[in-house]
């Protein structure tokens, strides 16, 4: 039997020597990033204010070209377009998903809401812009919301709704919000930096119906749904959010400063991406 085991061992020893690795890490969103003005005029710290987090592995950080730390860019090729940051890999913590009503296109991020009532409260009370159905009437309660979703997606359980369920972020000991991430199939380059940014939702106190939207989501594209309106599309993220993030970062968004703890020197490193730079809002804390 011993020779057989040896042969088996030889077989198991096949090593692909893949340049790509899965990078596991943590992203930390400071409490200040989740502290926004509510409809009633008070500010509150609410994890539902955390927009999608875009994370990428980059060659370095450029602190000069923009008013915030940005990944190192290549040269400008096309006029009016910034240089490409050529990410080695990336992922998100929270992504855009369509939540059944046209009025919610490009306003809902996965991993932020646990159930329908949670969403109704966020849009209605916190933002002051109640969710409206496709006829313009306010959505009364969670059951109505649920039924609309079941009808729209031909679904029969809430587990099929990507935008509901487990929350990505939990409060850590420092009072900041922390989430784990996996960046799969990322080209490992020694010394690469994991950099990320959070797209903060727009808060427009003067006109609450405009609140809740995101600059990195394009309302005019995405899956077309023509039951009521042949021009209606569900919205989708811009496909170059990690390549030229400066096109979508506006004042109010939070950005990682590229600290040492986010640098990856070995595939087993567990980088910590701290979004500690508030663009246009000053430093955290």
């Amino acid at each position: 039997m011993a020779p057989t085991i040896l042969i088996l061992a030889l077989g198991c020893a096949y090593n692909e020597e893949l340049p790509e690795k899965d990078i596991l890490g943590t992203v930390i969103v400071p409490a200040a990033a989740a502290t926004r003005l509510q409809a009633d005029g008070t500010t509150a710290t609410d994890p539902r204010f955390i927009g999608p987090i875009f994370l990428g592995a980059y060659s370095g950080i450029d602190t000069v070209s923009f008013g915030y730390p940005h990944p190192s860019m290549g040269p400008i090729v096309t006029a009016d377009t910034p240089g490409d940051a050529f990410p080695y890999g990336g992922t998100t913590v929270g992504r855009y998903d369509f939540a059944c009503y046209e009025s919610l296109a490009c306003k809902v991020v996965t991993g932020r809401f646990s159930d329908y009532n949670d969403m109704l409260e966020y849009f209605g009370t916190v933002l002051g812009s109640p969710i409206q159905d496709d006829n313009g009437a306010d959505v009364a309660n969670g059951s109505t919301f649920q039924q609309a979703c079941y009808d729209y997606f031909y679904a029969t359980s809430d587990q099929e709704m990507a935008f509901l369920g487990d929350l990505d972020f939990a409060l850590n000991a420092d009072g900041d919000f922390e989430a784990a991430f996996v960046m799969p199939h990322t080209v490992f380059v020694e010394g690469m930096t994991i950099w990320g940014w959070m797209d903060a939702p727009e808060i427009v106190p003067a006109n609450p119906t405009e609140s809740g939207g995101f600059s990195s989501c394009d309302v005019s594209t995405g899956r077309e749904f023509d039951q009521y309106d042949e021009n209606f599309r569900e919205g989708r993220v811009y496909f170059d959010a990690l390549n030229t993030p400066s096109q979508y970062i506006y004042a109010g968004d939070w950005v990682a400063s590229g600290a040492e703890e986010a640098v990856v020197n070995s595939p087993d490193d567990k980088p910590v991406v701290r979004l500690d730079f508030g663009f246009g809002v000053g430093e955290a804390e």
């Binding site: 060659s59 370095g60 290549g74 090729v77 096309t78 050529f86 380059v189 690469m192």
Partner: protein, 300 residues
């Protein structure tokens, strides 16, 4: 020993079978090799201005307007093309290539017959060239021997190389994606040379498809000082119009061939003038000249 003998016999049997198989490639589908070159370099073309182009027969200024031919290569999988260089003017330059001959699709519209082509194009004479252009320094091909593209390498701070595309001749398609025009269709683009005045640019005309009638692709090419929308040309009534089109470089079938226009394509100049003058003129020409570049009336 008998063992070896029979092994050899078996091997011979197998090899002879293979040998007969190897010659059984259906050559009828390959483009035919002709005298037309697979890859060649036109050289430098003078960037021609509007006044000169409007006042001259384009075939009489070979240093500015080039008529040429391209043919097939040995390897069926690869196509070649032609290249030329021009000097940046410091403002907009319009690069134009017009491959043989003309192509229209009779059935593109269900609207009224007056705006629809009545006669089908004879498409066997159509070839396709794809245009790209950029700074000569970024060209990766070897003019005259190998067609390449425009790229440069960027080394990021971690030492990883990335290839950047530097083709400045941007043409977009139906979805706004990078695209090229189809068979026999003129391709053109505006190059903004304001940042590189006096610097040499290369234009690449890559063969996408050769005409299936004779595997020779006649074409014309030029570089124009100005915007493509301002390119002058004359219609069949002699009126001077502007805007890059099939008509800017006339008669590529005649002028590209050293022996003049082949007899079987004698209809080309007149059909091209009709084509440049609208659908109705094409319908009239085809009706009066059945088989001359378009299907006859019987085909309807």
């Amino acid at each position: 020993m008998r063992t070896h003998g029979n092994l050899a016999l078996g091997a011979l049997l197998a090899l002879s079978g293979l040998a007969s198989g190897c010659t059984n490639v259906r050559d009828g589908f390959r483009p035919v090799l002709t005298d037309a070159p697979f890859v060649y370099d036109i050289g430098e073309l003078r960037v021609i201005g509007a006044e000169e182009l409007a006042g001259v027969d384009p075939s009489t200024v070979p240093d500015a307007v080039h008529y040429g031919q391209l043919g097939a290569g040995e390897n069926a999988g690869l196509y070649g093309g032609a290249t030329f260089q021009f000097r940046a003017t410091g403002s907009s330059v319009c690069v134009v290539v017009d491959p043989e001959a003309m192509f229209w699709n009779k059935e593109i519209s269900t609207q009224s017959n007056t705006v629809q082509y009545k006669f089908e194009d004879i498409f066997e004479d159509d070839g396709d060239l794809d245009l790209s252009a950029g700074l000569a320094a970024y060209y990766t091909g070897s003019p005259g021997s190998e067609i390449g593209d425009f790229s440069a390498v960027y080394d990021d701070p971690a030492g990883v190389e990335h290839e950047l595309a530097f083709n400045e001749c941007i043409q977009t398609g139906y979805f706004g994606d990078p695209a090229h025009a189809g068979r026999a269709t003129v391709e053109y683009c505006d190059i903004d040379t304001s940042l590189h005045s006096g610097v040499m640019y290369t234009a690449v005309l890559e063969t996408f498809a050769l005409p299936i009638d004779d595997s020779i692709l006649n074409f014309g090419a030029l570089a124009f000082d100005g915007r493509c929308a301002d390119l002058p040309w004359y219609d069949s009534n002699g009126a001077l119009l502007a805007g890059a089109s099939e008509c800017v470089i006339p008669n590529e079938v005649e002028y590209a061939d050293a022996n003049g226009i082949p007899e079987e394509k004698a209809w080309f100049p007149e059909l091209e003038r009709a084509y440049c003058s609208g659908v109705g003129k094409v319908n009239t020409f085809c009706k009066d000249n059945p088989g001359a570049g378009c299907q006859s009336e019987e085909e309807l």
